[in-house]
Each structure stands twice: as structure tokens, then as C-alpha cells.
């Protein structure tokens, strides 16, 4: 819109020169007009909005209404009318009619129309150009009339393209250009919700009504722009705001979103993986992460192997216990065991409390070694166990509770197997515990 005058200047200076003075004048008037128009727009934004929305689906009828009711609006209304008509290419067919309607209002433009351009496009462009000029261009108008009526249709269209480009470049501050005509309608709808961008959508609409080659040029222009821009996409998309000094191309914005996502997750991983703080950069961190995952998996393997060796003993003991009917004896000890241990809670393996309980049991009882030896003899699994587990320290640590003495006496009488087990002292203990667990489960 700002460049309406320069377009006129271009077309004017094209065929003939010697208009320097008038050019300066026109520039001044253009500047003044810019301010005016902006004020008009801001003041009448609601006004515009009211017109915009219906106009998007508008037909010729609406336009006629606008024309009829807009008599007092002056240039603003004219601009509104022309702009509101633009989004609908379907309206182009109605242009000849509109031209007729326009005659009474656009005084200076009428002559242009009469002289003027055959195709709808050209009419579009000319009308836009002329009507977007402020009323102060009365001076310019007669010249415009004369010049525009020239059969320089090509020039008009070429100028039109240039003008759109320039308009685009100016208005880029407020919009992000997505060079698709398909999204035009949606975009216009979304943009209509925002105040300032209404103006810019008009520009985009004007662009869209012209050749498509404009789009790419304009988007290339906008990508070079260093300004704040807000991306308005289809409502389901994530709304991204391009920061200052960053490209506003749709591709780069999507890439930035992706990069941010990745960096956010890498940060989490950095907290999780020890030693990742020292390394920066994706490659180094990935190395650390891979090493850590591998080490964890190896640990799991190692522990599972260990558990596998423990497992048969575990199971066997339970079966043995069942077989030798220690179970009723164990059940008699349940209250005491329950009081001394927290493990009576079914199916609870609490890491720390178990350790404490084990320790306290060890402290409570003092069972002399002969009993333990007998215990070993009696309740030992006939399975040869790896020597590596043999640990005298644990032997002294864990001692069966003294309440077991009665049971031990019973066990002495039973047939004894030969066998050694290192973690044996813990077995009756754990065996009873598991038996209690089993009982609870049942």
C-alpha cells in the first residue's frame, strides 16, 4: 500500500521522463499518505475487521453493500472495499459489474477504468493501485489517467508484480509468508483474528491473486528479513515465534523446533548419565550414553548370573522345608519373627530395612557353632555350590535366631545330608521368611 505511489511513478516515468519535480512531490505526499493510512487503519481496524470477515466469503452482493454504505468512509472505505474484494478470485468475474458500481465513488479512477484494461487482472491491479492512493493525489490523478490508459498492459502487470514485491517487503514485519495459495484462505481466517496482521494478509491476498512466481521471490525476500515475525499456520500446528535475527523461513522454523526438542532431551540425558557434564556436543554425549547403557546391561547380566546360582538353593530349601515339616514349627515362630522383622509384610522386598533386620538378628542371637554345624548338616541342599561364595565373615554375621534352637534340636534328629553352603546360615532365615511369605500369599 505504501508503494502505490511509486508504482504510479514507475509507470509514469517509464514512457517519459522529466517528472523529477513531481516525483519529489509524490514522494512527500506518499510519506504523508503512509502515516495517514496507517492511522486510518489502526483507527478503523475494527471497522476493517468487520468488513474483512464477511468479505472472505463475500460475493458481489457484499461488495455492493460496502460500496453503498461506505460513502462516508472516504479513502479508508475505498481501500477496505478494494482489499476486501481481493481474497476472492471469484470476484474477478464480477469486476466489470463492479467497475460500473465504482464509477460514482472513485472519481479519478473511473476515467482509468473507462480507458482501461480489458482483463480482470489488469483491472484488479489498476483499481488497486489507483484507489489505494489517498485523495490528495488529485494532482496525480489526471496524469495517472492519461498514463495508465496506455496500452502498456504488460508494463502494468510487470509493475504490478514489482509493486506486490515491494509491498510484501514492507509488510513482512508483521507476517510470516508461507508461499502457498492453498493455505491462503485458512491463513486469512487466522490472520483475521489478529489486529495488525489484517493489513498484511491483504497484502498476501493481493500477492496470491497474481502470478505464482511472486510467491517464491517474496518468500526469498522475507527469509532475508531480519525482523521479528510470528508464524501463523494452520490452527493445529505448534505456534513458533521466530526470534530476532533468525530466519523466518518455514523450513528453518520447523528445523528449529526439532533442534530444540532434541536439545531438551539431551539435557535430560545429561542429568541422567553420570559424567556427561564434561563432554559437550552431541557426538560425545552419545558416546557416553552408549557406554552407560552397555554397562548397565552388563551389570544386569552379571546379577542375573548370580541370581541363577542362588536360585536352585532357594527353591530347594523351600521344598526341603516343606518336606521336613519344619513349616509348622516355623509357623509357631511367626509372631516372634514378625516382631523382629518387617518382612512379614507379604511380598515386600525392602532394600534397606531388610539389611537392618538382618543385622539386628545377627546381634540378637548368639548361636554356638555346633548348632550351626548341625543345622548345616541337616538342612543342606545336596547341591554343590561354588566355593567362591564361601565367606566366614557372613557366617558369623548371620546367625539363626535363638528361637530356632528348638527347631534345631528337631533337625538334629533328622537324617542329615552332607553338604556345604556358604550362604547357608542365611538360608533357614530366608527360608522361613519365604515360607512366611508363602503362607501369607496363600
Amino acid at each position: 500500500m505504501n508503494r502505490a505511489l511509486p508504482e504510479m511513478l514507475h509507470c509514469l516515468s517509464g514512457p517519459g521522463n522529466g517528472t523529477d519535480m513531481t516525483v519529489l512531490e509524490r514522494q512527500r505526499t506518499r510519506v504523508k499518505w503512509q502515516h495517514q493510512e496507517q492511522q486510518n487503519y489502526f483507527g478503523g481496524s475494527e471497522f476493517v475487521g468487520g468488513f474483512l470477515e464477511p468479505s472472505q466469503a463475500s460475493q458481489v452482493g457484499d461488495f455492493q453493500d460496502l460500496l453503498g454504505g461506505g460513502g462516508g468512509g472516504g479513502s479508508v472505505l475505498r481501500d477496505v472495499m478494494t482489499r476486501s474484494v481481493k481474497p476472492d478470485p471469484g470476484l474477478e468475474s464480477g469486476w466489470p459489474e463492479l467497475g460500473r458500481y465504482e464509477l460514482p465513488d472513485l472519481g479519478f479512477g473511473s476515467a482509468v477504468l473507462m480507458n482501461g484494461s480489458p482483463t480482470g487482472f489488469e483491472m484488479n491491479s489498476t483499481i488497486r493501485r489507483t484507489s489505494s492512493c489517498p485523495p490528495t493525489e488529485a494532482q496525480v490523478a489526471p496524469e495517472a489517467k492519461g498514463k495508465v490508459s496506455e496500452p502498456a498492459e504488460k508494463m502494468n502487470s510487470a509493475v504490478g508484480r514489482e509493486s506486490f514485491k515491494k509491498r510484501k517487503a514492507d509488510k513482512v514485519q508483521n507476517t510470516k509468508v508461507v508461499a502457498e495459495d492453498d493455505a491462503k484462505d485458512k491463513r486469512s481466517k487466522v490472520c483475521a483474528e489478529e489486529g495488525e496482521s489484517k493489513i498484511t494478509t491483504e497484502q498476501t491476498r493481493t500477492k496470491n491473486t497474481t502470478t505464482h512466481t511472486n510467491n517464491r521471490e517474496i518468500s526469498a525476500d522475507t527469509s532475508r528479513e531480519n525482523s521479528k515475525a510470528s508464524e501463523v499456520q494452520k490452527p493445529d500446528y505448534i505456534h513458533v515465534r521466530a526470534r530476532r535475527g533468525q530466519a523466518t523461513d518455514s523450513h528453518s522454523l520447523a528445523e528449529r523446533v526439532r533442534r530444540e526438542r532434541i536439545s531438551e532431551r539431551m539435557k535430560y540425558l545429561q542429568d541422567l548419565v553420570p559424567g556427561c557434564n564434561k563432554v559437550t556436543g552431541k557426538a560425545g554425549m552419545l558416546d557416553e550414553i552408549i557406554n552407560y547403557v552397555q554397562s548397565l546391561q552388563r551389570q544386569v547380566e552379571f546379577l542375573s548370573m548370580k541370581l541363577a546360582t542362588v536360585n536352585p538353593r532357594l527353591d530347594f530349601n523351600i521344598e526341603d522345608l516343606f518336606a521336613k515339616e519344619i513349616f509348622p514349627a516355623c509357623s509357631a515362630n511367626f509372631p516372634t519373627i514378625g516382631s523382629s522383622s518387617e518382612m512379614t509384610n507379604p511380598a515386600y522386598l525392602q532394600f534397606n530395612p531388610v539389611q537392618q533386620m538382618v543385622a539386628c538378628c545377627g546381634l540378637e542371637m548368639g548361636v554356638n557353632t555346633p548348632d550351626l554345624m548341625a543345622l548345616r548338616r541337616t538342612i543342606s541342599a545336596p547341591v554343590s555350590l561354588p566355593e567362591t561364595y564361601f565367606d566366614t565373615s557372613c557366617f558369623t554375621q548371620l546367625q539363626p535366631p535363638s528361637t530356632w534352637d528348638a527347631d534345631l534340636q528337631n533337625l538334629f534328629n533328622l537324617d542329615s545330608h552332607q553338604g556345604r553352603s556358604i550362604s547357608f546360615p542365611s538360608q533357614p532365615f530366608t527360608g522361613s521368611v519365604e515360607a512366611s511369605n508363602l503362607k501369607m500369599e496363600i
Binding site: Y268, L296, S304, K306, A308, L349, V358
Partner: protein, 197 residues
């Protein structure tokens, strides 16, 4: 299976307890990252693990005397995947792979399945030539192979899965360490598990 019944009983009781503690609101986009650190999860996992290991022993005793470490590890992984409640890709992959193995076991008689499997694996390895792949890509591939079921996952999602997988593995290591300590009655050799605090 009796084990499944007992496991489900446990699961239900644990689930009730979990509800009391309160299920955190989960953003559909991101998986809760502190999930594997909660004590309730540890309890759930350890009890299930214990049961599963016992089951392994019971099941394998008629076949072979000693349950191998591999069986235990499989059981542990399966329980971990179950504890994950199927929200993550790796957990689903673990469970799915076990299902597939079981089906393959059942179809042992049909040799076609076996042959197809074998040739498939060979074909994938043989014609591979050395190509100049960027270092980052290579590492991403390695990582995707480590995390189960994440071979064709995009990089950001892979990172998400890795986060969850690492915390789950840490919990698994903690649980198994405690279990072995409890059963063997001796502190487990920490050399292999220095990185786990």
C-alpha cells in the same frame, strides 16, 4: 500359569497402593521421567522379580537342573517391561519379542519358520558394504540397537526412549543387587556396578 495368577494378585495389590500414592498426570507427549525412582515402583518391581525368578526355577527344574543366567535375565527384563505398563516402545518390544519366541517354540515342528528366520538374518548382514556414514549417524544407530525395539525410531523419540530405558535399567540393577544381597547374605561385588550409586 500359577505364576501369572500370583503375579496378578501382587500386581493388583500393588496397583491399589499405587493409586493411593497418586498417579501423576502424564503429558501425552512426554513420559514421566522420575517414574523409575519412586519407591513404590521399586517395590512393585522387586516383588514381581522375585516371583518371576522363582517361577523360572520351578519351570526349568524338570528340564535342567540349573537355571542359566540368561533365563534369569530374560525374566528380569520381562518383569521390567511389565512394570513399564507398556507406555514405552522398548517395553513393548521386549514383551513382543518374548511372545514371538514362544510362538516360534510352539512351531518348532514347522521348519519353514526357522529357515526363514535364518536366511533373513544372514541376508541382512552379508551384502553390507562400508559406507561413509557420519559419526553421529553411526552412534545413533548403535544406540538404537542397544535399546530394544528402537531401530527405526526418529532421533528425538530415540532419546526419549533412551531416557526411560536408562532409568528403568538403573532400577533393575538396584533391585537385583538388593535381591542377591539378600539371598546370598553377602555384599555383592561392587566392581561391576561402580557406576550405579
Amino acid at each position: 500359569m500359577a505364576s501369572s495368577i500370583s503375579e496378578t494378585n501382587f500386581e493388583e495389590s500393588k496397583r491399589i497402593k499405587r493409586r493411593k500414592t497418586g498417579d501423576e498426570l502424564r503429558d501425552p507427549d512426554t513420559i514421566d521421567r522420575t517414574r523409575w525412582r519412586s519407591e513404590s515402583e521399586q517395590r512393585i518391581y522387586s516383588t514381581k522379580l522375585f516371583e518371576a525368578i522363582r517361577q523360572v526355577r520351578r519351570n526349568s527344574s524338570p528340564v535342567n537342573k540349573v537355571s542359566s543366567g540368561r533365563d534369569i535375565q530374560d525374566a528380569a527384563d520381562r518383569v521390567l517391561a511389565v512394570a513399564a505398563k507398556g507406555r514405552t516402545r522398548w517395553s513393548r518390544a521386549i514383551l513382543a519379542s518374548r511372545l514371538r519366541l514362544r510362538l516360534a517354540h510352539n512351531n518348532k515342528k514347522h521348519k519353514k519358520a526357522r529357515v526363514a528366520k535364518v536366511t533373513g538374518s544372514i541376508r541382512s548382514k552379508m551384502p553390507e558394504k562400508k559406507r561413509f556414514i557420519p559419526a553421529l549417524q553411526r552412534k545413533v544407530k548403535v544406540l538404537s540397537r542397544l535399546v530394544p525395539g528402537c531401530r527405526k525410531v526418529s532421533f528425538p523419540n530415540l532419546l526419549e526412549e533412551t531416557t526411560d530405558y536408562i532409568s528403568a535399567l538403573e532400577m533393575q540393577v538396584r533391585a537385583m543387587t538388593a535381591l542377591t544381597e539378600l539371598l546370598t547374605g553377602s555384599p555383592v561385588d561392587r566392581l561391576a556396578s561402580t557406576s550405579v550409586s
